[in-house]
Structure formats: C-alpha cells, structure tokens
C-alpha cells in the first residue's frame, strides 16, 4: 500500500468516525423526552427511515459534518459535499424508477433493510393522499406538527431539486476561496429547498422557506460579484418582505380555520376559511400572493432577480433559477389555488394580466441586455410568466403545462447559467459584445449551448415545447375567469383567449432574443481575442451532459414526466372547478 493511499484511507476513516459521532450526538439530542430505549430507537429509525426525511436531513447532516473537517482540505470538503448532496438524488431517483422495490426483494421482509425498502416503495402518482407521509408532533403548545409527504406536484420538483443540486455541487468545485464555509451553506440551502417542497405543515413550510433564504443571502453576499452586497441585501429584504406577509396570512388562516392545526391538508378544506368574510380572505390570499409572486417573480416584483443572478456565483445562479423560483409557483399550486379557488377565479383576469405582461416584458427587456447573465435572468421572468398563466387557467392542461414548464425551465435555464459560467471562467467577461465565434473555438460548448438555447425558445422535440404548448392550450380553453369581469370591453373567457394569443406571440419574441444572443456569442469568425480558449473541461462537461440528455429525451418522450403529475393536475382542476 503506497503512502498516499494509506493517507487517503486514514482520512476516509477519520471522516467516517466524524459522521458517526455527529449521528450519535443527534441521537442523544433526540433521546431527550423519550422514556424507554426501545421507543427511542423506534422513533429515531422511523423518522429517518422515511425517504423524504432522510433526503432533507442528509444535506443538513452533511453541513454539520463539514464543520469538523479541516478547512484547508478542499478535496475532502468537496467530496463529502458531493456525497451528501447525492444522497437525496439517489434516494429520490430510486423512488421514481422503483429500484428500491427491486432491491427490497433481496432482503427478508422482516429484516431492517427489508422493512426500509418497503417504506421506500415506488412513487404512486395516482395515490389520493401523500406518498411517504409522516406526521409527528413538534411544538405541542401551538399544535405544530412535523408533516412531510410527496404528491404529484411536489415529487417532480423534489426530484428536480435533488438533481440540480448535484449538478450545481459539481459546478461548485470551481469555488476556490472559503471552500468550507461555502459548502456548509450550500448543504443547508439544499436541505431547506428540499424541505420546502416536502413540508405539509404551514409552520414547517415557513421554517424551511426561511432556511433556504438565509444561506442564499450569504452565498450571494460572500462569493458573489462586485455588487454582491447590494444584490444580496436586495434579494433578502425583497423576499423577506413577501414572507412576512405570508406569516400574517398563515396566522390569519390558523385563527379562522378553527381546527387548531397548521396542517396544510386540513386547512385547505377548513370550512372556517371558506366561510370567512371576504376581506379576511383577501388578506390571506394577498399575503400568500405577495410572497409567492415575489419569489416567482411576477412582473412588478422582479427586479431583485437580475441583480441576484448577475452577482451570484454560477452554481448559485443555477440553484436560484432552477429551484428557488419554483418555490413561488409551487406555492401557487399548493396553497393559493387549492385554498382560495374562488378568489383565484375572481382575480384570474388580473393575475393573468401580470403573467402575460411578464412574458412579453421579460422577453423585451432580455432582448436588449448587454450582459449575458442578465439576458438569461430576464428570460426567466418571461418563462415564469408562462407558468403563472398556466396556473391561472385553472384546468388540467394549464396545471400540467405549468409543472412541466417548471421542470423545463429548471433544466434549460440551469444549463444556460452553467454555460454562461463556463464562458465567464475563461474570458472574465459576460458582455455579449465582447464575445463571438465561440462555436469554432469551443465546439463542445456550442453543442450543449444550442440544446439549452433551443429548449429555452420552445423548439418542439425539446422539453421546453411541451410546457408552453400545454399552457397555451389550457389558457385558450380556460373559462376560469369570472364571466362578469369585463376588462376593456372584453368578456372573461374571451380575455383568456387573448392572453393565450399574446403568450403565443411571446414565443416569437423568445426566438428573437435567443437566436440573436446565440448569433452574437457563437457565430462568426473565430474571435482573435479568444483564440485558443480551451473547450469545456470534464467537470463542466459532465455537469451539463445529464441536463442536455434529459432535455432531449423528455422532449421526445415526455410521458415519464407527465405520468408523475397528470393525476394531481386532474384532481386539482376538479377541486378548483367546483366554483363554476
């Protein structure tokens, strides 16, 4: 055994010991309040046997573990960070593809692993309730529960979060300073984001919502670009402004519901909320609307996004665009529309207008951005407008399209930010006018760039098309706008049809700015200034190839994705359409 290898082995052993110690400490902490040993072990195992919990807490545990690692050992830190972000992906992908079921057959059903594999059964999209549901008492004095579970809406987003986190983690290997702090915050962020999509208790939801906010603030503020402090504070305060209103709305809901619980499932159908005075209902709706619309972001609330994107380091931009924005649209579908379908119906014309304005306005502003990253940021505003338009339409097509568009945008825009990062690392410029001819200089880069860009402009055969198509189809057929809304002399359902046509025009604008960007950055004679620029290295390439493969595969065969959420969309549409 060579010296280096022996060192490596002892290093791994030492880290493993650290992990075990941390686990032990957590176990002891969890032991407080439990009476018997068996009960304690049972509770502890059941808690972490739940795949969702394990996915949420693996990165958080990783963050704790990283605290005990020497800050000079960058390789070790990176390796462990990758391992702890990969755990949710491995688990969740297994739940999706059902390989835990296969594995479970190897073990006796009564054994520890056998039982675990039985809990980790394949995700059932058509299940009425929530898969992997877990309900524990948490803060008894307020009757706050710890509830997690996944359904057709949250599962795809949970899966995508796990996926993008791993890729962003690989992309984070380029971070050279304060590596330890970076990965600790990054792992916390991942845990928080996963938690947001899994939480089924408003209190827990709020906690995870804020947990994902704080690391983001530091990640932008410390590792960001020149104007990072301004961007970080703007991002933090803007989002906090929204979440405070959400807290007010949550408390109001709690008081009105009269069921004495924060559970999302129970509050969604609580008669107390449905029969509350319209003013209070508007207050609750408005609080959530503000919080989610800022996060999405819808048109007048979007200005934090370009600043945060431009200043954030590449992997954080990817997380921001790929996942954090989806928390807003997730909130729309999880909270806003199921709980207040009547208000959604009355205000549909207004929210739809904001969505349509976002589509056109985002595309317009993106068209003339000199900064590549800002261009992609504004394209996010445009694409997220599609998602909200799909939700506003309140029919299965619209909901399906919205979820699919969330995934498409997560993959496509994530890839675009990674690619911009690749350029920036080499050229130290993001200005479009300084670039050119990269197709000749960096052919592999150009290949992936074309796939991401074409998906972003909604080319049929790539994933971006399906979301936009379903959304426009849903909006066109929607009668989810209060018929009495007569805006500018147009009847309600005709209004939705007009929105659909405007959104379709947005597709042309998207093609315009994407192709123009591609032309200026990639085409033309090889730029003398960038001559001899190395093509993507393996790390960058393999962070991007999985995204590109999924963009193409799910563009050609979107059925596996659609199977996850079509039942949910149908059920949600049925639920909200009781109004009509």
């Amino acid at each position: 055994m060579s010296e280096a290898r022996r060192n490596l082995l002892s290093e791994i052993l030492r880290q493993a010991v650290t992990v075990i110690i941390v686990l032990g400490v957590l176990f002891v902490l969890a032991a407080i309040g439990h009476t018997s040993e068996d009960q304690l072990i049972g509770a502890f195992t059941n808690f972490f046997r739940n795949p969702v919990n394990l996915s949420i807490f693996a990165p958080i545990l990783g963050a704790v573990t990283l605290m005990f690692i020497n800050h000079r050992k960058h390789g070790t830190l990176r390796g462990w960070a990758l391992v702890f972000t990969a755990i949710p992906l491995v688990i969740t992908a297994g739940l999706w593809l059902g390989w835990w079921d296969v594995l479970g057959r190897l073990f006796s059903p009564t054994s520890f692993l056998g039982e675990t594999m039985r809990v980790w059964m394949r995700f059932v999209p058509s299940f009425e309730g929530f898969n992997y549901f877990l309900d524990r008492n948490w803060i008894d004095i307020l009757n706050v529960h710890y509830i997690v579970g996944l359904d057709g809406l949250s599962f795809p987003l949970f899966l995508m979060t796990a996926f993008i986190s791993v890729l962003a983690c690989i992309a984070s290997f380029g971070i050279k300073e304060r590596v330890k702090e970076y990965f600790i915050l990054y792992l916390l962020l991942v845990g928080g984001m996963l938690g947001v999509f899994a939480a089924l208790d408003y209190f827990l939801f709020y906690v995870f919502w804020e947990v994902s906010l704080v690391p983001m603030y530091f990640l932008i503020g410390i590792w960001g670009g020149p104007r990072r402090m301004y961007a970080a504070i703007k991002f933090f305060l803007f989002t906090l402004f929204g979440s405070v209103f959400m807290l007010v709305a949550i408390i109001t809901m709690f008081l009105f519901a009269g069921v004495g619980t924060f559970s999302m499932i129970e509050l969604a159908d609580a008669p107390g909320i449905a029969s509350a005075m319209v003013g209070y209902r508007l207050l609750m709706f408005g609080g959530f609307f503000l919080a989610f619309s800022i996060k999405v972001p819808l048109f007048p609330f979007h200005t934090w996004l370009p600043d945060a994107h431009v200043e954030a380091p590449t992997p954080i931009s990817v997380i921001l665009a790929g996942i954090l924005l989806k928390m807003g649209s997730y909130g729309y579908m999880r909270v806003l529309y199921p709980t207040f379908p009547d208000l959604g119906y009355w205000l549909g014309a207004f929210i739809g207008l904001l969505a349509v304005v976002s589509i056109i306005y985002g595309a317009m502003v993106a068209m003339v951005q000199p900064d590549l990253k800002k261009l992609v940021a504004y394209s996010s505003v445009s694409h997220m407008g599609f998602i909200i338009l799909g939700i506003v339409s309140m029919n299965p097509d619209g909901f399906n399209g919205a979820i699919l568009q969330m995934i498409a945008h997560g993959l496509g825009t994530g890839a675009l930010f990674l690619l911009v990062g690749v350029i920036y690392d080499r050229t130290h410029t993001r200005m479009i006018k300084d670039l050119g001819g990269l197709m000749i200089t960096m052919p592999r880069f150009a290949f992936v760039m074309y796939i991401a860009a074409l998906s972003s402009l909604g080319l049929p055969s790539l994933i971006g098309f399906w979301g936009e198509f379903l959304i426009i189809k849903g909006t066109f057929a929607s009668n989810a706008v209060w018929q009495q809304v007569i805006a500018w002399g147009v009847q309600g359902d005709a209004l939705m049809r007009i929105y659909a046509v405007i959104a379709a025009i947005g597709i042309v604008l998207t093609a315009g700015y994407i192709l123009w960007m591609v032309e200026r950055v990639m085409l033309g004679r090889e730029h003398p200034r960038w001559k001899g620029l190395p093509d993507m290295i393996a790390r960058e390439y393999w962070a991007l190839v999985p995204i590109a493969v999924f963009i193409v595969f799910f563009g050609l065969y979107p059925r596996p994705l659609m199977r996850m959420f079509e039942f949910f969309s149908g059920a949600l549409a049925e639920k909200v359409l009781i109004m009509f």
């Binding site: 703007k234 305060l237 803007f238 007048p300 979007h302 200005t303 934090w304 306005y361 317009m364 502003v365 068209m367 003339v368 951005q369 299965p396 097509d397 399906n400 699919l404 006018k433 300084d434 050119g436 001819g437 197709m439 000749i440 080319l459 049929p460 055969s461 098309f465 399906w466 198509f469 379903l470 426009i472 189809k473 066109f476 057929a477 659909a500 046509v501 379709a504 025009i505 597709i507 042309v508 604008l509 093609a511 315009g512 192709l515 123009w516 032309e519 990639m522 085409l523 033309g524 004679r525 730029h527 003398p528 200034r529 065969y557 979107p558 059925r559 659609m562 079509e566 969309s569 149908g570």
Partner: protein
C-alpha cells in the same frame, strides 16, 4: 413493407446519430458513405412502398400506432398515415435527398465541417420523412420544427459570413411567426373537439364541416395555413427564402427547393378537408398563391445571382401549387409538387455545378458560354429548365396544364373575380418562361465572361457585400484589438484576385450522375399524368373525394403553350438578340425605376427591418429603460425611503425618546445641584440652619 415503413425515417436518423457523435473520429469519407448509402436504402424502401400501393396490395390509407404522449385529455399516438400522396411524396423525398447526398460529396469536398454537413442533412431527411409519414398534428409539428432547425443550421453553415448569420436568424424567426399561427390553429382544433389525426379529418370535415360553424372552420383553416405560408415562403412571409440562398447549394436544392418548402404545400394537402370546407379559406389560399407567384416571378426577371433567380422561381412555383389547391385542383397541386421537386432539385444542383465550375462565382454577369465547357451540366439543366417553363412534352407542362385547367374550371364555375386566378396563372407561365430563358442565355450562351474585366455594376454589388462583412467584423472584433491586421493572420489573408485566366471545367462524376438522374425524373416524370396522350395513371392515383375526371381542355393547353413560347421569345429578343430598340427602351427612366423596385424586392425587407424590427427594438429599449428607471427605481426608492425613515426614527430615538430619558436624568441633576449645597457636612452650617429655622418658626408662631 407497410409495417416497416417507420424504418425509412429511422435510416437517416441512424446516420445522423453516428456522424454527430463520432464524426470527428471517423473519417469524412466514412460519414458521407454512411449518409449516402442510408439514403439509397430509403429509395429502395420508398419504391417498395409505392409498388405495394400501386399493385393494390395495400389499398387506401394505412395507419399504425403506439401510444406516445398522454397527459390529461391530450393523447398523442405515434402514427403513420400512408395514403397515396404520402407514398408518392415519400418516393420524391427519397430520390431527391439521396442524389443530393451524392452530389454533396463532390460539392462540399474539402470543407472544414464536412461531416457536420452530412449529419445535418441526414437529420433533415429524417424529419422530412417524418413530416410526410406522420398522422398526428403534434408529431407533424415536431418533425416540422426539427426540419426548421436543420434549415436554420444549414443556411448558416458558413458561420463566418455575416450575411449567412442574418439569413439563418431571419429564416427561423419568419417561419416561426407562421408556426405560431399553426400552433394556435392546432389548439383551436382541440378547442372545438375536432380530430387532430389527418386520417380522420376527411370524415369529420366532410360535407362542408357540418359539425362546426363556418366561422370556426374558416378560422382554423386560416390559422393552419399560416404555418404553410411561413414554411413555403408565401407572401407576406416570403422574405426569408431569397436570403436562405446563403447556405451551400445542395442545401438550397434539398431544403429550399425540393422538400422543406414544399412541406407547406404538403400541409395544405394533408388538411385539405379543412381548407375545402370553407370557401373563404379556399379563396385565401388561391389568392395568396397567385399573388406570390406573380410578384416573385417578376423579381426573378432582374436578379443577377443564379441561385436567387431559382429561389424566386421556387416561391413562384409554390404559389402555383397553392393556387392549384385553392381552386380545388388537388390532383394537379400534388402533381406539380412532385414534378417541381424533381426539376427544381436538378436546376439547383446544376447551378451548383456551374458555381463549382466558375470557382464559386454565383453572379451570372461573370458566366456565359458554359454550354460547350460543361456539356453534362448544360444538357441536364436545359431539360429541367424546359420542364419548369412548361414546354411540351416535359414534366412541368403536364402538371402546369392541369393547374391551369383547374383554374379555368374554377373561373367558369364561380365567374367574376375568380377569373383573375386563371389570368395570374397564365401570366406566371409567361414570366417563368421569360426568366428561365434569360438565365439560360446569360449562363450558357455566348462566350465565357469570367475572365473579362468586371463591369461597373458588378463591382458595385461586390463592394457592397464586402463592406457589409468588413464593417461588421470591424465593429465586432476591432473593439478589443488593434485592428483587422491581427484578425486576418498570414494564413487567412483576404482572397487575392486571381490573376491567371481559368476555364470552367466539368464537375466530378458524382455531380454528373446526380444531375442525370434528377434530370430524367424532372424532365419525364410528368408522363405518368399526360392526359392528352391517354395516360391517366396519376389522375386515378391521387384523388380527393370523387375521382378526377381526366379530360383535355385544348383551349387552356393552347393558351399556356403559347404563353410559354411567348415568354421564351420575348426573353430572347431582350437578352439574347439585344435589338437596339429594346436596349434604348431598357435605358428609359420608367424601366430603370421598375427595375430598381424589383431588384429591391418591392422594398419589403426595408419595410420589415425599418418598421417592424426597429419598432420592436425601440420598444425593447424603452422597456429596459422603464425597468431600470421606473420599476427598479421604485424598489430602490422604497429601500431608500425606509432608510430615511430609519434615520428619522434614529434621530427621534436619540433626541426625543432618549432625550426624555436624559432630560429626566438632567432634571434630577439640576435638582441635585440645587440642593447639594445644603448638605455641606459642616456642623456649624447645620446649626445655623437649625437656628434660623427655629427663629423663623418662632417668628411665624408668635406674629401670625
């Protein structure tokens, strides 16, 4: 073969995948051999399919399906629909694409992105086969857009050229505008509950679309027609096709002449039940076709670039096909679609051969006398030209005659303004013959002008192109550099003028072979439907609704033949014989102005760039300013306002809240200061105070 028809698109897909991923590993030779032989196999497959159709082994339409996309009520099976037009179009695509692959081996020789070229045309062939075969509208849309992407990528194949970059972007965006209309049309189909499978449309929309209101049928028809207008470059979305000639010539032949642009016509053939169910849609299709045919044929008369003339000719002929479909000439439209694909592919390949011979010179003012120098090219080009002009007995004559016959019948049936369609058709026949004769004279007749001193107008045009490229490069690259000198290094000096005289040579055998095959098809395929000779196979094979009764309208035939011959004659006396009187006429002000209008394509590009594109750019810039100075300003003002409020509060806190606290403190301090002297600690002072107090007490007690 029917059950295996999906293999036909699969073959080029395989070559695409192999070449795109391993193209840099395998040699160029391997890529072109793979791509070409896969295409040759598809020809065999297409022939087998057609034979089965022909012998009646499989009658009528044939579909096969497996589930593909299912979400909500959106269920899309992956289905092929192989009716007679599909079978014949399949063969046409296989033959043209196959021989254009072969031709490209010669034409693209030595290109730096040789294998990429073959990958892209293979992908294109795959998607074109998909468009032809697929049954469901959504899968049609997908193939349609992959095709659009290939067109985009191949137009801009020479990415260094500024004009190519502009052309590729323009092509994509302009066709995309049409596609948005088509997507809305598809959504309308869903909305009204109509079938999206082409095979079910005839039953649903038969009898004038009785299931739906006339308005709905018309709207759907017109929206779907938008897609065809974009793809087939019809007015007002025709502006992209002439620019698309920036691509390599085989691409122009395959995509922008024979197959992709015909796909628009093919779309209208597929949705013909919808189109036919509404008189308005029919009229719009016919009118758009006739108008485009006329205006583009006129422009074809003045273009100097050999490929541009052919491009305008393509638009004109596509307009002809739309005219045919719009006057219920279904049989004639498909007939012309196939014939045109063959002879136009041959013409483009011929022009490619000419361009190769003339050392990549595309300007006809630098050609001439090539008939003797390039005999194979000349003969094949001549056959295809005669076919295009509609001179009997070549292919084009038979299909054009069918179209004009249909237009005549339509005119006499409806009367009035519908006669204009027939009139336009005849005029286009005249113009087609004229511009093709001009092309032939300038290219092949007389003596070779490539070694002459360039004429003034040629130099002017070249300088314009050159400066456009250079200005752009200076603007793009000069900002960061010391000038263009570093840009053009020694190894890539700007091309020097070739001093030595050169004589055009005949192109290599792959080129010649492709030309001969396509000329045979292009010149003589039309005999399958030569009604006056008693051959009516075509009219029985391609029918819509009731069988087409093949009868000969000698009047129409006479007029159109006269028109074609008249066009040849007029072109000959203007450009061939150059009679002095015509030359004088040519120099009059009116003709010069007219020529300028035509050469500038009616200033349509100026209009689009100047008004629409610039309008959007201004709007976009305004949005950006609004975003920075209004929306973001409000956010920042909100932040700043909060900060000001915080400062005000801090001041209040410091001076008022804390001030009150301190005031209380100071007050006690004052009081303390006031009473401190009382507690001096000296006994005598206390004694004194005691005595004074006692005295005062006594005084008060005693006196008051």
């Amino acid at each position: 073969m029917h059950n295996w028809v999906w293999l036909i698109p699969a073959l080029p897909l395989i070559s695409f995948i192999v070449i795109i991923f391993f193209g840099y590993r395998i040699k160029d030779r391997a890529s072109h051999l793979l791509a070409t032989w896969m295409m040759m196999l598809t020809i065999v497959g297409a022939v087998l399919v057609l034979l089965e159709k022909f012998t009646g082994a499989a009658t009528g339409a044939f579909t096969q399906a497996f589930p593909w996309v299912q979400v909500g009520d959106l269920k899309i099976p992956f289905t092929t629909y192989l009716d007679n037009p599909a079978a014949i179009t399949l063969l046409m695509v296989a033959i043209t694409a196959g021989f254009i692959h072969l031709f490209s081996q010669g034409y693209m020789k030595g290109d730096v992105r040789y294998s990429l070229f073959f990958a892209l045309i293979s992908l294109f062939s795959f998607s074109m086969f998909g468009v032809v075969l697929t049954d469901h509208f959504i899968s049609f849309l997908i193939f349609w857009e992959i095709m659009g992407f290939c067109s985009y990528a191949l137009i801009g194949f020479y990415i260094e050229k500024r004009s190519a970059q502009l052309a590729m972007k323009k092509a994509f965006i302009v066709t995309r505008i049409g596609d948005v209309g088509m997507i809305l049309g598809i959504i309308m189909l869903y909305y009204v509950g109509a079938p999206l499978r082409f095979s079910e449309m005839a039953a649903y929309f038969g009898h004038g679309g009785a299931h739906l209101s006339q308005a709905a049928v018309t709207t759907i028809g017109l929206l779907l027609f938008c897609g065809a207008v974009g793809k087939s470059a019809q007015f007002p979305l025709h502006v992209w096709l002439p620019d698309a000639m920036e691509g390599p010539t085989p691409v122009s032949a395959l995509i922008h002449a024979a197959t992709m642009v015909s796909a628009g016509v093919y779309l209208v053939v597929r949705i013909f039940p919808i189109v036919q169910a509404s008189v308005v849609t029919m009229t719009v299709v016919a009118a758009v076709g006739a108008f485009t045919a006329l205006i583009t044929a006129l422009v074809g008369l003045v273009m100097n670039d050999i490929k541009k003339v052919l491009a305008y000719s393509t638009m004109s002929q596509l307009g002809y096909m739309f005219l045919a479909l719009g006057v219920a000439g279904y049989t004639a439209g498909v007939f012309h679609l196939i014939n045109h694909a063959f002879f136009k592919a041959c013409l483009f390949l011929g022009s490619g051969s000419v361009i190769m011979g003339c050392h990549h010179q595309q300007d006809m003012r630098r050609m001439g006398g090539l008939a003797k120098l390039m005999p194979i090219t000349f003969v094949t080009f001549l056959i295809a030209s005669l076919s295009l002009m509609g001179i009997p007995p070549f292919s084009g004559f038979w299909s054009k005659d069918e179209i004009l016959g249909s237009a005549y019948a339509w005119g006499s049936e409806h009367g009035g303004a519908y006669w204009l369609l027939f009139l336009a058709g005849e005029l286009v026949a005249f113009l087609t013959a004229a511009y093709m004769t001009r092309l032939l004279i300038l290219t092949f007749a007389g003596k070779y002008r490539g070694n002459d001193a360039p004429t003034e107008d040629f130099v002017e045009d070249q300088a314009k192109l050159q400066s456009e490229q250079e200005n752009w490069e200076i603007k793009k690259y000069d900002r960061s550099l010391g000038g263009l000198k570093t840009l053009y290094r020694e190894d890539e000096e700007p091309e020097k003028h070739e001093e030595h005289r050169h004589v055009p040579r005949e192109s290599p055998w792959v080129v010649g072979a492709s030309l001969i095959v396509l000329a045979l098809f292009g010149g003589f395929f039309g005999f399958v439907g030569a009604v006056p000779l008693g051959i009516t196979w075509w009219q029985g094979f391609i029918t819509f609704g009731h069988a087409h009764h093949a009868e000969v309208n000698w009047l129409v035939m006479g007029i159109s033949t006269a028109m074609a011959l008249g066009g040849v004659f007029v072109a000959y006396i203007i450009w061939g014989a150059k009679f002095a009187v015509f030359m004088r006429l040519y120099r009059t002000r009116l003709v010069q102005v007219l020529q300028a209008v035509l050469a500038n394509r009616y200033y349509m590009d100026h209009f689009y760039n100047g008004i629409i594109v610039r309008g959007f750019m201004v709007l976009a810039k305004a949005s950006r300013i609004f975003d920075t100075w209004v929306v973001d300003l409000i956010v920042n003002a909100f932040g700043a306002g909060t900060k000001m409020f915080a400062y005000a509060y801090a001041w209040f806190d410091l001076w008022v809240v804390d001030g009150l606290v301190n005031l209380a403190g100071y007050m006690w301090l004052g009081i303390k200061r006031g009473i401190r002297p009382l507690q001096s600690g000296y006994l005598q002072h206390y004694m004194l105070v005691l005595i004074i107090a006692a005295v005062l007490f006594w005084v008060v007690r005693y006196f008051f």
